[in-house]
Symmetry: C2
Subunit: 339 residues, 2 copies
């Protein structure tokens, strides 16, 4: 194996090989000045032959743009954020941008500083920020937002960042549909296993459900399967009477379902359970989980699109936030309550 420092070609060398000046080569590429078609062809052929690609660093230095965007997510390995990431990556690729991943897991402040610095150092032209596990904006985030760096919030609105465009699901509408579905089946006594209290989406979902079940008991979990399991244990231990269980996401729904089933509670005969998200697992557990499908891919795609629009316009001025429609998916976990 030879050394890894094989030097790439420079524009100089291409120009020399073609017997023209760098000016001409540059203009052939940019088209900002007319170039004789024959010369252009010769140059292009040499570029292909040599496999010349302009140096990204030099370009970035001159233009002030890196053609990279960042994506800040709590944990890229989560299904949920993975879908968002894929959407962002797709759109970035379509618009010819690269994608840099910034993991915010365990909200280490040093990490946070590090990826906001990507904006400051101009390593990225903009940032898609997914704050799905944070109640409020951190100081650092506020500072960046105030400096008017191009930022788009994906999946979750952040209080205090009202001027920053966002792309979210219509949580309220989805929750309404879930509520009506179970009310129409005849349920009257419901429990809600919600997400973090204070999180915008949590508030919306609880509100939507309570439109049909004004007195539903509300518990708060952390979106993980274990948390649904534990909260269901609490419900059983306290002999809470209910026939409908709303969980703020599928993982908690599935955790709760397991716990209830282990206790001999039949789903959906004794208790109906619904989730939110429509993860892969929702259709695999038995019974299949009735849920609300969120278009995470779409959230990713649209966030990236808004962001790149803002980057290329040079401002987020006039960029509208987007609410994406959701879809009720009825499976086997819901049925009329026991009579």
């Amino acid at each position: 194996m030879t050394d890894a420092t094989a030097k790439p070609w420079t524009m100089q060398q291409i120009a020399a090989a073609a017997g023209v000046s760098v000016t001409t080569v540059s203009h052939t590429l940019s088209g900002k000045r007319p170039v004789n078609p024959e010369t252009a062809l010769r140059i292009r052929r040499l570029i292909d032959e040599f496999g010349y690609v302009p140096d990204a660093g030099a370009r970035q230095l001159k233009s002030g743009r890196s053609r990279m965007i960042g994506l800040a997510v709590p944990d890229i390995s989560h299904w949920y954020f993975g879908r968002i990431a894929r959407g962002v990556e797709e759109m970035a690729n379509e618009r010819d941008y690269g994608l840099i991943i910034c993991s915010t897991s365990n909200s280490d402040p040093r990490r946070e500083k590090r990826y906001f610095n990507l904006l400051r150092t101009r390593s990225i032209d903009g940032l898609v920020y997914t704050a799905s596990r944070e109640i409020a904006a951190t100081d650092e985030l506020m500072k960046i937002a105030e400096s008017s760096s191009p930022i788009v919030l994906a999946d979750e609105d952040v209080p205090g960042l009202d001027d920053v465009p966002s792309v979210t699901s219509t949580n309220y509408g989805g929750a309404q549909e879930l509520g009506r579905h179970l009310r129409d089946l005849g349920h009257t006594r419901a429990v809600i296993i919600a997400g973090y209290a204070g999180l915008h989406s949590t508030v919306q979902r609880v509100r939507g459900i309570r439109e049909s079940f004004p007195n539903a008991l509300v518990l708060h979990g952390d979106f993980e399967l274990a948390s649904g399991y534990a909260l269901a244990s609490d419900l059983l231990a306290n002999q809470v009477g209910f026939t409908a269980l709303f969980a703020s996401n599928d993982l908690m729904a599935i955790g709760a379902m397991r716990r209830l089933q282990e206790a001999g509670v039949r789903v959906p005969e004794d208790v109906s359970i619904v989730g939110f998200d429509d993860v892969d697992m929702a259709s695999v557990v038995s019974p299949g989980l009735t849920t609300v499908r969120q278009d995470m891919l779409g959230i990713g795609r649209q966030s990236a699109e808004l962001l790149i629009d803002a980057v290329e316009a040079g401002s987020t001025e006039g960029i509208q936030s987007i609410g994406l429609p959701v879809e009720l998916v009825i499976r086997g976990s819901t049925a009329p309550p026991p009579s």
Copy 2:
């Protein structure tokens, strides 16, 4: 909202504010030449106050390094690749590198060209390549490998790239353990739902299982749940007699399990099923799936580590490939065969 083109500070401006030359500022930062402690302090204070960060493009241009690495994966939203990505991201972050995601889904050649160009343009210093769905190296990959750009293969060896260091699971060993486990339970008639034929990991896993079940029937799927489901249908339709079913990954195992259960086959009483990977879902389905846990996080971490070592050494010379241990996880889907 003000305009998004708020200019970052330059070193020039810091120097001017401190009443010194850029040289001095640069040297206080790099420490490559002694600087008067008082002056240094004054400069540092100004840097903090202004929030100055050196421009990435300029740095990259001068140094020839971007302090970014790339990760090429088929689909970032898959659990499997998401775990790898997280591992890579963690290690990159620890070594103070950024991570650029290159999605190779649907193996669009234009996409492929695009992320290999990241290497050529020096946007990234090296690439972690996950070829888990490809049998052979593409021309483009061969070209890049020959050009001795720093590359590490993660999760899957690629035939023809023997000089490129790789980090993989010990597929053979894991499959051996699975085979022995079912043989020890008393099974004698087995079917293998393998991955893509020709894939290195597939070959290893089949070999490992066949050590215990030399005559096992081998079918090939595409790693997706639906494919396990469909192949199980085929088995049922053809009345193939077996009491043990090996799937090359958990998703196919779960798909097959569902199909068998729908047909009234009891798991594990009538048929034992095992998978590979230990995905989240494996512990959620019922019965829980016996499987082999792969350390995807570790694969990601170690790949990134090898890569960064190679980048900083300037060559992949002397970098050793790694095989990561796996662990047999016994759950409810395996039991002695019906007598």
